[in-house]
Symmetry: C2
Subunit: 465 residues, 2 copies
């Protein structure tokens, strides 16, 4: 008979095998890292304003998780170098350095452009930053070398493993990643949390009691109340030890925060490897949802930094949700996914067709426009009953002219009654909007959305499957 | 070409013909009143504790409206007479007096029993009261003789006509009557309002600007703010000149108040005789409402004072409305009507059948019962999708076991999930609940509900028809 503690230890033991790289993998990453570092140093040798080249991120700290090897090489410039020149040099010489060691590469954009390379299964990022003092940041990534130093100075081998467990847990429950599409916990945030609570289980024990507005000061400067006043809309606040005015957890959405809290509670009350290694959603039965799913397919999207594109896509989704609700639709949930070339939006709506009649709520009788309301509806063709008075307001029952979510959405897009963000506007205006029938579902599966559709139909986050 | 003022005068002229009795009618009522008064005086002559017999109400004041002749005879007792004895004597001797002059009669109950008689087209009420001083009331009707005296002392022929116009207007727009079923303006309240504003049009001009919480002090004692604090939930407050702690308008519901405000505005902006003489609702087309109307037929109702019965019926209706809304039904409006023997309730609901799936909103993840919610729904047979986390809460999509408003209502009645007031409980437990189809509608029309059904289908208050 296993004891509870024995069971937990068994799960953690198996989780470590998922999270911690083997010695061979560690060695291989170190080799790649050194090769890249030397090639980049070589490429920038003698460049004016170039200060140094360093290894940063999880490879530098030894906190990367197995099967996600990634090497970040930072090229430091003196503050006198212009931003454009810095970017130009990083792109030109960074890509040349990667070519020199036989890596394929492409340009990526975050706050500024950087070069992403691939060497075997290792991802390599060449990033430019300024060699500045804390508080004199010229670009957001200038903090990164200080982050690396801060974490390294507090690490030992036990904590390294605990961090890897925490990252694997975050990844397994679906909350790992600060990019907008995820809006979850960054690697650095996870490291800080493990350091603060001095272990993985300790983090979960504390996290299982968190409420929105949880504030953790890593700098010994603020009270919880002060932090909540400084970052009023953040479900989680963790000050940056290298910049106390910054919330390291600013990307974390309320949903991801809550999923972490719930997953922590569930893991502690019944530990299971599935939190680190979730099963994929099973093939969902869409039949109960037929008549409820509206799809919007956005094609020909522009090449933009992922966060810019997702920012616009998510803004559109939220605006559609609000407009549907305002019209009387019950939007139960929605989600968006990209298959690489395009984006698919799915809305789960109680009914894709509104009832034939609509109760219109008019003004209170004592408002000036009460008479207008009566005049407008009294003998209108679409009026079925009323207007009448109930409480202090007027009401009228009208026949609806348009009832289908699809037809209404197309009209709202045309008339600007939903937000149509600039860069994705052409894709939205030419979007295909349709009800998901069984046949349409098959088509979507063939377009690379199978896992997304199964996850949506299932509805559960990975740790509840 | 008629001027606006000329048009208004024309409408008022015609309205006066509706409101003001002819000389012949006045004479006839006076004759009846004197006859009844003499008969009642005779019947109570020599009775111990009997102080006097008087004519009260609109017949005494000459403020009754045409085609509604009514005579109130009050029998005053000294305060020493017990309540039961008073009631017994009023019933015995009052009915005998009416028999003596050849009137038919029946017992009625308000706050206490009284005798209602019919002589030709005149309704006669014989009511017992105590001869008390103001402030020493022993029964609610003790104030009535003081009301009569107060109004009479301030009347002249012009104001008498203005009061009759106001009463006919109130009746025409459907807000006349303080009984619970109407919850509108009593005759006395209407008289006070016309006295206060010194005319019918002047009342409408002021009334068209009223907002809920309108307060009028007839006693020169209170500010508007003080009155609103004393009667916090009354849309209209009018202090009683003979008892300043009483709100004469306490029966007026927010809906009736608002209908009066709206009708005042509409009449002033386009005067029409239809405010005094509304058309009946035309035969309504029920087809757009098919699938939306649920009827509840309450039979075998107990003999109770009307306000007691309607109090319970309306309480049940409001409770059903709330329970339906809680379940997800959209209740657009409801109404109740009696055909004499029984009561019919009608609910207009967006759809009598709920959608097959239900989005259940669970607790925030940080509440203790979040885990219970997950446990309850995770692998439940009725779960279609989820549970998932959105914002700080859990959600789950479930298949509904019961979907029809009728089936649910019957279950709620059985389980006590709606209010089932004591006296009408047997009628509610044996109520017939059904969807109003075209055939059912025909049946209901044949049971005496034709006008009610037409008015409900039409939806408009009389002054908007």
């Amino acid at each position: 008979v296993k004891s509870g503690a024995g069971e937990l230890e068994g799960v953690l033991e198996a989780a470590r095998r998922i999270a911690v790289p083997t010695e061979y993998e560690e060695r291989r990453l170190r080799t790649v890292a050194e090769r890249v570092l030397r090639a980049v140093e070589e490429a920038f040798r003698g460049v004016e304003g170039h200060v140094r080249t360093t290894l940063e991120g999880s490879a530098a700290k030894g906190t990367w998780i197995r099967s996600r090897p990634e090497v970040d090489v930072f090229v430091h410039f003196s503050p006198g170098v212009g931003r454009e020149l810095l970017e130009k040099m990083v792109v030109e010489r960074g890509s040349r350095a990667l070519e020199d060691i036989g890596a394929s590469w492409r340009l990526r954009y975050a706050d500024h452009p950087y070069v992403e390379g691939f060497l075997g299964d290792v991802t390599v990022n060449v990033v430019g930053c300024y060699a500045t003092e804390p508080g004199k940041w010229l670009s957001p990534v200038d903090r990164t070398p200080y982050h690396t130093r801060y974490v390294l100075s507090r690490l030992d081998d036990r904590l390294r493993t605990e961090i890897r467990l925490a990252k694997a847990f975050m990844r397994g429950i679906g909350v790992y990643g600060a990019e907008l599409r995820i809006s979850g916990f960054s690697g650095y945030l996870t490291e800080l949390l493990v350091l603060r609570f001095n272990g993985f289980l300790e983090l979960l024990r504390d996290g299982s009691g968190w409420r929105p507005g949880k504030a953790i000061d890593m700098t010994g400067t603020f009270t919880e109340e002060e932090l909540r006043a400084l970052f009023p809309n953040s479900p989680l606040i963790v000050t940056d030890p290298v910049d106390r005015n910054r919330n390291v957890a600013s990307a974390v959405s309320l949903t991801r925060f809550s999923e972490f809290v719930l997953a922590s509670r569930l893991f502690l009350s019944s530990p299971s490897l599935s939190f680190f290694d979730p099963r994929p959603p099973s093939r969902g039965d869409v039949r109960p949802l037929l008549g409820c799913l509206m799809a919007v397919r956005l094609r020909d999207l522009p090449s933009l930094p992922a966060d810019t594109l997702w920012g616009e896509v998510l803004k559109f989704c939220r605006s559609v949700e609000r407009r549907l609700q305002k019209e009387g639709f019950v939007v139960r949930r929605w989600a968006a996914e990209s298959n690489g070339d395009e984006v698919l939006l799915l809305f789960d709506i109680e009914s894709l067709e509104l009832p034939p009649l609509e109760l219109r709520v008019g003004p209170p009788v004592w408002l000036r426009n009460a008479e207008d309301f009566v005049g407008e509806h009294l003998r209108d063709q679409l009026t079925v009953a009323g207007p009448w008075v109930s409480g202090e307001r007027l009401y009228v029952l009208k026949r609806r002219a348009l009832r289908s979510a699809r037809d209404l959405l197309l009209r709202w897009i045309e008339r600007g009654e939903v937000s149509v963000p600039k860069d994705v506007a052409p894709s939205i205006r030419s979007a295909e909007v349709f009800e998901v029938t069984e046949e349409r579902l098959r088509e979507l599966r063939e377009s690379g959305y199978s896992a997304f559709l199964d996850a949506f139909i299932d509805g559960r986050p990975p740790f509840l499957r």
